[in-house]
């Protein structure tokens, strides 16, 4: 990493590194004593498997498989005769042309090439992935224990997430259905082809030659046209899937749902670092007048329970989540405020609240992958702050997910000095 002289440049490096953590050296930090295996981790792994990365070199395995399938389809289109799946190619011509066509119905079913079968396997694999995501969301629903007054809104949010997953599953099921239909048609065509060949053997030689010269080219042309149509449909379906990477819960088109248009944010300070939380996900600001009640056996970042407005708010040491341990001074002043997440019993402790700002989505550099910090929505260079995805933060906390590494960024260390 290059070192810069000005604190501003250092902060830019820090924010940039937050978004591109994988490009940095792994820090040598002590892991937090919290569960290493959790559903959120599996969920994050499932999402981080690909699909969010914009750079071609980081395209997902799924996208690569789909691209290979498309390439194979194109090869089939260019040289259909070379494909073993194409029917009705007779090597030896018949000699007698005096034939009367028998009253048989020629098959019109569309053939299917092997790559289409491979596409079917890919689609099935995607459906399994989507179903795994759905089952994880259902598990999260079972584990969610909310306050009675907030339970309804939480259910609405969860329902929205479930609907998003269902839409994705429905799209993939449609593609699977198309592929299955094409596969069934191909099987029917092959059966009919075999039947025709058997009947041809019983015909007189004149009939066979007539079939070879007049009927077979027509059948081949029809088959080729049908194959082209099937191929085009399959390519369109594959392109549609490849162009829509899976989104994390609450995200749409590469950014959170609340950031589709101009949105408001509240800036707050945590041990010198400026963070921003969208007002849409802000539940309230609590002034700490009484020290929170600690619970034994909890991780260090859990500061305790704060009673506010007939509600128990679990207070989180925000610095331990967003700052490297080296920068967290033990003798620092206690937190003064808590930013409560909307519809949640979790609150992020902070030193001070700055002001609210209005942002256009284009002003934010949105994260492109979940990585180790799913709570990070993006960074705003203009205000030198990290934008928090409060809903994701809440999910991580609810699930007791703590094996996240805080940012250990040399740029911030430079800034601190």
């Amino acid at each position: 990493m290059n070192w810069h002289d000005t604190p501003q440049q250092a902060m830019e490096d820090y924010l940039d590194a937050l978004l591109h953590e994988d490009l940095l050296e792994e820090p040598s930090i002590e892991p937090l004593k919290i569960p290493s295996e959790s559903q959120a981790s599996r969920l994050a792994d499932a999402f981080s498997g690909g699909g969010f990365n914009e750079e071609p070199r980081e395209e997902s395995l799924q996208a690569r498989q789909l691209s290979e399938s498309m390439l194979q389809f194109r090869q089939v289109q260019q040289s259909p005769a070379e494909n073993q799946g194409l029917p009705l190619k007779l090597d030896e011509p018949f000699t007698n042309s005096q034939v009367i066509l028998p009253n048989i119905s020629l098959p019109t079913a569309e053939p299917i090439a092997d790559p289409l079968v491979e596409t079917l396997a890919d689609v099935v694999q995607k459906i399994e992935t989507a179903q795994a995501l759905k089952s994880q969301i259902e598990t999260l629903e079972e584990q969610a224990v909310d306050e009675p007054e907030t339970q309804l809104e939480s259910l609405v949010e969860e329902q929205q997430l479930e609907e998003a997953v269902k839409e994705q599953i429905a799209e993939e099921q449609l593609e699977e259905q198309l592929a299955e239909e094409a596969f069934e048609e191909a099987e029917a065509f092959e059966a009919a082809e075999a039947q025709v060949e058997e009947e041809l053997q019983e015909w007189p030689e004149e009939l066979q030659e007539e079939y070879t010269h007049e009927v077979a080219p027509l059948v081949e042309q029809t088959t080729e046209n049908a194959a082209k149509e099937t191929l085009e449909e399959a390519v369109e379906a594959v392109e549609a899937v490849a162009g829509q990477p899976p989104s994390p819960p609450g995200w749409k088109d590469g950014r959170p749902v609340w950031a589709q248009e101009r949105f408001e944010c509240l800036l707050f300070k945590v041990k010198g670092l400026t963070l921003a939380v969208p007002l849409a996900e802000l539940g309230g600001i609590i002034k700490i007048e009484k020290q929170p009640t600690p619970l034994f056996g909890q991780p260090d970042w859990f500061l305790g329970i704060l009673r506010n407005n007939k509600m128990n708010v679990s207070m989180v040491d925000t610095a331990q989540w967003v700052l490297p341990p080296a920068l967290i001074k033990k003798d620092q002043e206690p937190y003064k405020l808590v930013i409560r997440i909307h519809n949640s019993a979790w609150g992020l402790a902070c030193d001070a609240v700055d002001r609210s700002i209005s942002l256009q989505p284009e002003q934010v550099r949105w994260r492109t992958s979940l990585g180790k910090r799913p709570w990070l929505a993006g960074t705003v260079i203009e205000y030198m702050c990290a934008l928090i995805d409060a809903a994701a933060f809440d999910r991580l906390l609810k699930e007791g997910h703590g094996d996240l590494e805080p940012a250990d960024l040399k740029a911030l260390k430079k800034l601190n000095n």
């Binding site: 919290i34 034994f296 056996g297 909890q298 019993a345 703590g402």
Partner: protein
């Protein structure tokens, strides 16, 4: 409706439980009153060589030997000196009678089942599973402890062998 009748009507719809509260490290904890046999002032505890580190020792309770557990150590709290308010609560858990040493014993409180809230449990420490729930009482958060989970089966067996 008179007050006792009202209380009974409420009790029918919402179970009322009694908890004995005690203090440890400036926090208030509660255990089900049905598990508490008696509360003793601090008396000399005879250490037992080779006993687990969470065992302070044994006391003679009217001719019976009772093992005393270091509650602070068990909860992962820092050690503290014995004071005038230090008490030994004799409890029956997992069919065994043991003593737990606490900073002080406060009172018996009535809690409705609906008032007890689930405590956030994000830790993987063994002690985290002792917490049954939390309840706000008199502007103070009460941490309810599940004594049956205070020790594992093996540890209860160890205690029985002392």
């Amino acid at each position: 409706m008179s007050s006792p009748q009202k209380f009974q009507a409420e009790s029918a719809s919402d179970l009322v439980l009694q908890y004995v509260t005690f203090r440890l490290a400036q926090e208030t904890y509660g255990i089900n009153v049905m598990m508490v046999q008696e509360v003793l002032r601090y008396s000399e505890i005879a250490p037992v060589p080779g006993a687990p580190d969470y065992v302070l020792g044994i006391i003679n309770l009217r001719g019976n030997v009772v093992t005393v557990i270091d509650t602070r150590q068990r909860f992962g709290l820092p050690a503290s000196d014995v004071s005038d308010s230090t008490r030994i609560m004799i409890i029956e858990a997992d069919q065994q009678v043991v003593g737990i040493m606490v900073d002080s014993v406060a009172e018996v409180v009535y809690l409705k089942q609906s008032e007890i809230e689930t405590a956030p449990n994000v830790g993987n420490e063994e002690s985290a599973k002792f917490i049954q729930g939390v309840c706000n009482k008199n502007n103070e958060l009460l941490i309810l402890v599940e004594l049956n989970k205070l020790m594992s089966e093996e540890e209860w067996s160890e205690l029985a062998a002392i």
